[in-house]
Amino acid sequence: MNAMGYLQTLVNGIVLGALYACLAVGFSLVWGVLNIVNMLHGSIIILGGYITYFAWHSYGIHPLLALPAIAVLMYGLGYLTQLLVINRVVHQPVLTTMTLTFGLDLILYNFMTVYYTATPRRVTLDLGATNIGGIAIPFDRLLGMAFALVLTGMLYLVMRRSRVGRAIVAVRMDSAAAALMGIKVNRIYAITFGIGTLMAGATGVIFAMVYPVTTNLTGTYLGKAFVICVIGGLGSVQGALVGGIVLGIIESFAGQFFGPLHAMTVGFLLMLVLLVVKPTGLTGIKGYE
């Protein structure tokens, strides 16, 4: 492969990485703040994708116009799930919380498979590709990347600047102290889970423009979220961004050299090694057990 080929692979990897960052950031937030591994994440991405697809296919609504509505819907869904269901067991051991979210995932997954069937569907926008100095980038991916970065950036700003964001960070640092300062911890948990679900739904909208939408992919997306969180470190937007881009580049090159199937294996193996060697992730921001 010549230099141009390497550059093309690198650019592909970065574009993919931005999408991955958007995929993982909500998962990472929920894990970091609530200390819950949200096994629902993959299915919610696909749910967002399906709603996008049907809005586009049946009513001709452009995915980017549907995005705000889907985001609000997903936020409400996540908020209620956390408030009514997960909050009851939020401080119990991992086995309980993880099994519970897995159970919820099975229910959602099952209903999606029954109603939508597993047939892959896709929003085809046919935007063509741009060519910058001999490197081709499909426009739909570029658009997806831009939106993924904007969403991730917005989440970063919300976490840094808004009252709610500071409250979330406070709860993450020490929930007992936060409660003493007058923060309603259970509400913050619900809001955090809502934001996590919102990000997953928005990722679904973006992915529907780039990848096929099918329930077969829920596990794959969930797996990617695991890997990115472990690579980047938990609970921070920067961590998810670094993790996403690193995984994107690695998968892009691994796919080039070993074939696409092995690209995923490389990602998982990297995660296992990192888990053992450096569980705080590459960014070194301290993880939460």
């Binding site: 067991v89 099952n110 199937l261 294996t265 296992l272 888990l275 057990e289």
Partner: protein, 320 residues
Amino acid sequence: MDRRLQYILFAVWVLALASTPLWGSNYVVRLAVVIAMFTALTLSWNFIGGFAGYPSFSTAAFFGLGSYVGAISERAGIPMVVAWGLATLFTGAFAAALGAIILRLKGHYFAIGSIAVVEVMRLIISGWGSLTGGGDGLNLPIISGGPNVVTRIFLLVMTILMIVTFLITVYVDRSRLGFGLRCIQQNEDAANMAGVNITLYKVIAYTLSALFCGTVGAAYASWTGYIDPTDSFSIIMTIKVPVMCLLGGPGTVLGPVLGTAAFTLLEEVFWANFLDYNRAILGVVIVILIFFLPGGLLGLSYRNVTAGIAKLLRRPKAAT
């Protein structure tokens, strides 16, 4: 529950399963094989998940590894039973080596790591086409005698595996090892300070949790005569087994047996009536289990149940 009563109940249950060919239809016999098989898996998981309290989700990795080692050995001409033995040893050795690495993780990281092992194994087996047949799977030599005889043979095999894992559970339950594992479950650092060799104990528990999954996997491969990566390394299995154990009562001797029986029978009823919704039903069972049966079925006592119902009736204005 009194220990002796638990052993008697187990013996009765084994007799009931083993005698199915005498009184039941072929469907019942097949169901008995499945129950015996899952009981062996659940009892195995109980060592790491129940006694030591580690959220291990790697059952399917060991099951799949066992079925592939068994299948590949059988295809190489090794007799069936020897192939099962090989699968057991290989899976055990693999788990010991893996455990020494990933048991350093705790909580969520361990859970994620153990699930990742299932995925990595599946991807490697799918990718290594020359040895494993890749996505096409592998066919195994057919056992002569027709389906009825084969089912009866495997009923015997699976029941024996179930009894063996139960006996080991009884031994662990009463030994120093079980005591140490329970200490680890309650407080690992304190156990370490008190002189429990935590690394060794955890690796032993993890290896025990894998050993018979390997045998069961190999026997299952011989039973069905065909294996493929998606079926052998199934994420559903890796979650189902812990759920069965939690349903019965983790860390107890009879709990896994009871949980498997209850879960499988429940599943069978729902399978027959709502085929499309079997995953959702597993999900609903999980949600009910976590909210209403935190200690599993064995954790229930009549006194608590009646007290709970009374509390529910009396609670129109409970606090918060």
